[in-house]
Point group: C2
Amino acid sequence: MLRKSKKERQQLLLETIEENPFVTDEQLAAKFGVSVQTIRLDRMELSIPELRERIKDVAERNLENEVKSLPLDEVIGEIIDIELDKRAISIFDVKKEHVFQRNGICRGHHLFAQANSLCVAVIDDELALTVRANVVFIQPVRAGDRVITKAIVRETNKEKNRTYIDVISTVNNEPVFKGEFEMYRTKGEGEQQ
Amino acid sequence: MLRKSKKERQQLLLETIEENPFVTDEQLAAKFGVSVQTIRLDRMELSIPELRERIKDVAERNLENEVKSLPLDEVIGEIIDIELDKRAISIFDVKKEHVFQRNGICRGHHLFAQANSLCVAVIDDELALTVRANVVFIQPVRAGDRVITKAIVRETNKEKNRTYIDVISTVNNEPVFKGEFEMYRTKGEGEQQ
DNA sequence: ACTGGTGTTAGTACCAAGTGCTAAAATGAT
DNA sequence: ATCATTTTAGCACTTGGTACTAACACCAGT
């Protein structure tokens, strides 16, 4: 086996550990056909921490992320008031993970998600699906802002299995987002898709 | 200091480790005013693995999660083709975390997010913000579906700093979502420095 | 008072996966 | 051949444990 040069080996070492941080020095030594000590010298030179530190880093990054990723399948924002089939209010605190790094402005789909999930929640039915939505982003929202979103049921058409909801989101009482949502619901004639 | 009973201590131990998996036996012993050995017996009885295993578990959970949580602040879906200021295509695999538990149908805001972030991406500008969106959810999308979304720039109005984009999402060539997005941009196309 | 059971503590040997250090080889280049 | 670089070896020590044995401490029952 043609042994690679130091430089090549160190480059590969970087890539290997990047790809799989759970690899031990011993495994690396075997992989590159060198001694464990050589791997350790390499790690020193490249300032790569030891296995346990690497794992810890991954775990710590994760623990932060877990908080971020949880809202993914829950209601976006916190519902603070609800009267089924009539109206609902939720609040959503915009954090730095919700904004564009470049300009600090909240990504539109988070505001949409808050409004949309509030519409789903306000409907007193087993099944509530969004059929159509017309939304307007009135003012940019930034990290640190607290968005208060109100959903008001405008009309329910039992024949068509539709509910129409008006949504308005504000920050400091200034409107930042508004939308009209047309929702499908089963109640009445129980028509399933 | 009244020392807690074994049961109380073990309950608290569980909660403490749940909350902060990075705590060592020594720290726990200090916290509960017992010996390290007692903590270890407790862990045995409760089948709580040692610190390193706990950290590793968190880290491994992460590696899975990374795929899930990354999209939160990146583009939703994977862009597979893009021609700046003209058109773009992304794919998004719907997983079980994207759907309502109750009926297995994808939450609308994920489809919106895919479309919206594709619109942001297709604009060749420093700043691109959604101003208005009219969207229609044509057919329910379910876990396992692969949503292919195409964004086509219809028009750019340089005076108004606006770009209008048509979006259509399909599953197995059947349309499931469509939308019209009005985007704000700082510069007209082809005016980048 | 003696015995038993539960709970707690102490101590030892051992492990993985390292760090930190010194020193000796092996290798390559001039 | 000589010198620097690179690699290897060896040893002591560290953390945060496991696994096991042995010793206490304390309270209850007969």
